[in-house]
Assembly symmetry: D4
Homo-oligomer: 149 residues x 8
């Protein structure tokens, strides 16, 4: 069995690398949004021309990023969404909502402090993990049927 | 033409009443989540029995609320999602993600201060409004074709 | 808000009546399989002619019942599946699987003794209730937002 | 023609091996749930942490297994569901219901003694087999067009 | 429970009237193709202008009829397809294929002499009836749960 | 049989009125875009605030109109698209493409001079009409089975 | 561009070989039903056991063949259905109906004498061919853009 | 990440080659309609026989081309639609409508002079580009996350 896994959400720590390295032997096809924050914010105007109004500057960028993120979610078997300590992270919750509506297997990776605020998101998930290692263990179990010793 | 409109998001101000009153003559069928915060938090354990662990207390409630909210979103023509000044509001962004994935017409109602943080959500919307009155005007235009004088 | 609720599963006790009576004021459209056991078993041959082989006798009946049950599940917003004390009840679990795959809100009504055996079914449900009264309370909350006092 | 076949149900005999060995020359991609009973029961708490309440212990495990089983069913062309002699086997019937709702070709593998109890499940199937060898013969015929001599 | 039933196929006997009269008390919404043979053949050219080539004459008519028949099938709960004694009746088999692909409950009404030739069509049906009265009895059972006495 | 018909395309002549008046006795539920050209162009900025850049002025309006037009097309049984003598009319062809992809019955109303340029659009339609009266005759035939005398 | 093409219908002449040989250089993945008439008729009872009643003999076989034919149609880009000179060929028309409902590109291969009887089927097709060579030419054009010289 | 990109619209300049050459290192699978104008116009009659009436001549060709174009759009991740300076280009707008209805990521490539006339089409797009180079830059960013320096 092979899996396609999309890694959505927080882009300021190395959690994606931890998961991809930990799961390197499983043959998973990983996908993720562009994680270069500056490029992600400015891609729209950098390619299609500047905007005077920050609202449309953001719109151009967000729509360009959507080409990548929507495809990533739509073609995934499993969507992992990480909520970090900072920022609003509404795009993470938005991705989780899309994944849920599309019937994807959803894994939420979050600190306990967010449990109450994320209860509606967690209720749509098949697992709520606390560490990238746990996500690796879940993926290992799903593919190989083996538990951590 | 009739419309079904689901009013998602912030539950601490009277924005839903403003929209429903303002649009009273349009024949719209409005739907919304349970907006009694305490009932919404405790419905699961109040009906199905107490939980020692707050995580499962929340899970039971969130899943019970999902019976109502998912049906509300799935049967709507238009989903209005309001982001307020406080709280994480990840459930609002989650609802917006579901609505987008289901192809619903999405209207976001938000203060300007959230524009950058909501850019991915707004990029999936057909309108970004600042006031409930603007939402009423949009619904009036969509149904009657008339603009505010 | 109106709801369509399909009541699947055990047909030897009056649980459906308890729910329909308890929820009589909620404007719900209830649907259910034919609960006359003898008619349900023999409908195929009674109408379309006898079969020598019990296997095809059963097939004719099961397919005729499927005209009703599949439509009931497909058009429902909420599917309640009751597991009783006796019999194999594979048709109940089959209905639950159909409801889950179709994205219906699933409520399982079961005694605690079946919890382990039903864990995969329960994991796809939004509520696991123990009594018909709890189902009435859930439906009341979903429609009116009010909890039992 | 290649086929993807998911082998659902009973996990205490070697029926899966019999089918996979018998069909080894057909180029089929087989998939199945985790068949290590203990791992399957405890995967949730082994990875994500212990639960005091057996109900949630089971829920965590069942949801983790669902990541694998739902993908297995959703991507299959043919779903074979085996009902054995023991246990409730509601998860097998649940899988059959999902497969039917998703339009998969369903093959049921069961002893005759269950014929009446499985009549609704069988009525959704394209074949009811008694032995793993018959399943191999069906798959051989479907792929190569050849019948057993 | 209400049902929408589409009556497809043979248009030279009064079988539709027999079913509609026999089922008059059941509250069914019946639909059917245009059964005026001449109008059905010539509708395209009568409205949109004559064609020199019979092939396009037929095409114009068949496409105009498709506006009605496809909607009838797509919105039906149950599709009854009658095969009579004469003509090729490929449109009847085509309608049955559409109904099967759309997941409709299919009832075939046919004389025994066609059993072998219709085996693939029958295999997708939930009932194979011989008389319009049997179809009425099936519909009565599906809606009321009562069998003919 | 009732029908929902969406009237898309050219907004400078009274063709919609001709069809709605001509078909007044058929019980059809008609829907259409906002046909007040000025309101349609300016609705976005009139409600949500002015834009310096004409491109975003247009975007705001087009997205607001999409709330109405997409719902109109998605809920229709039949989509009539009229191409007139003037303007680019790319929105008409865009609506036709949406209707085709959604499996709607498509009727194109156009002058002969556009036949070659519209050949791809016409190839997805079930009828190509030249006059509003022909559309009325088609709808009359589809609903009543009667041809013009 | 690669294509998957399903060749449905008449099994008594070598038209499939003509198409597959003629299109050998195009990289098409062809699929077809089992064309061994005796095997196709008897596969059900040969594998799963004899039936006294010819009706169920046929049912077992038709359902086993459906495992192959439905997958062939569902995964195809193009479905070619050939109607020959003899037999009822309702299964061919049934396959065409399934292909049409699933939005497949449909090519009908038929003699002119069947034009009127097949008008509803042809009206759902993108091409009506008279010879296997024409089908080869169509597939060549679709893939390479070249016409026969 | 790999992408499938369909290049729809104007066929008289080398914009497709510019994009395919510029994006040659990205591993994209490109697809497009037949761009030989004469072949595209005459394919139907060249293969299936001449028509006296230009309307049916065009119909035969347009339907044959639809085998290729619809598959191209349906299997694409990204659909780029170019509007040029000349011709009606309704087929381009039609393709954009299909792509939008199917949830494809849509990029419109157009000169500024068409901005107002294309506002409904652009409103469904994730990017509006002015040059093939910008499309190459978008695809580069979507796949590699790098912006033009």
């Amino acid at each position: 069995m092979t899996l396609k896994v999309y890694l959505s959400g927080e882009i300021h720590t190395d959690w994606r690398d931890q998961i991809m390295n930990g799961a390197a032997s499983l043959g998973i096809e990983f996908d993720a949004p562009v994680t270069d924050h500056a490029a992600s914010d400015d891609c729209g105007v950098a390619i299609l021309g500047a905007e005077d109004d920050k609202f449309w500057h953001d719109r151009k960028g967000a729509q360009m990023n959507a080409i990548r993120t929507r495809r990533g979610i739509e073609t995934a078997d499993v969507v992992v969404v990480r909520f970090g300590d900072k920022y609003k992270q509404w795009n993470a919750a938005f991705d989780a909502g899309m994944a849920a509506a599309l019937g994807k297997s959803l894994i939420i990776l979050q600190p306990e402090e967010h449990d109450h605020a994320l209860k509606e998101v967690d209720a749509a998930a098949l697992a709520v993990a606390r560490t990238p290692q746990q996500v690796v263990q879940i993926l290992t179990y799903v593919i190989n049927g083996t538990l951590p010793s």
